[in-house]
Symmetry: C2
Subunit: 116 residues, 2 copies
């Protein structure tokens, strides 16, 4: 990778680190992790989410019971102020990443899009 590519990538890394989105995410993350019961609740939610995603990707059936359990967990974490804040911060962060990627990948999109 050429020097100016590295430089530009590190420049963008710095901008990410200093962004409001990242600072808010960092703070929300620290708050949830500072509270053991919130931390456990959040980890539990994440695990259930990942299990279901994995099943979906593998084309496995998801039972009615699993759907209900997942809905209960979502409802539970949504009522938790710190966790909701963290989830919102994560969502804003992924929107930012998606926007960045769209910009950076434009040259490739042009190339592959032009051929279709």
């Amino acid at each position: 990778m050429a020097v100016n590519l590295y430089d530009s990538a590190y420049e963008l890394e710095k901008a990410v680190r200093e962004s409001d989105e990242y600072k808010a995410l960092r703070q929300a993350y620290d708050e949830v992790n500072a509270d053991p019961s919130a931390k456990t609740m959040f980890e539990n939610f994440r695990n259930i989410q990942m299990e279901l995603q994995q099943k979906q990707m593998m084309g496995q059936d998801i039972t009615q019971e699993e759907v209900e359990q997942a809905q209960k967990t979502v409802a539970l974490v949504q009522q938790h102020e710190q966790i909701s804040k963290l989830m919102e911060a994560e969502q804003r962060m992924s929107m930012m990443i998606a926007e960045m990627n769209k910009i950076i990948m434009k040259p490739l999109e042009e190339l592959y899009g032009a051929v279709e």
Copy 2:
């Protein structure tokens, strides 16, 4: 997304566009697409590849026949000079993208890595 994030992302986009990796990819791509038989051969290869990947992701079985057909297609495109060049250029491009992503995503890696 804040102004300096956009600026940095566009800076990086420019660096990607001006990189040797991108220029080489663009040239290899144009060469394959300028040759109808190479273009068809490459598209055929891509389709077979995508079908197999999709099956794999869905957890579906891949038959011995499909494996053999895929191997034959790989052997065929590897013998084609322009297509091999394109495939190598694509590989270098994805390595570059992976490196860039690793740099840009460092702040997130630090955050989520620190909690494990």
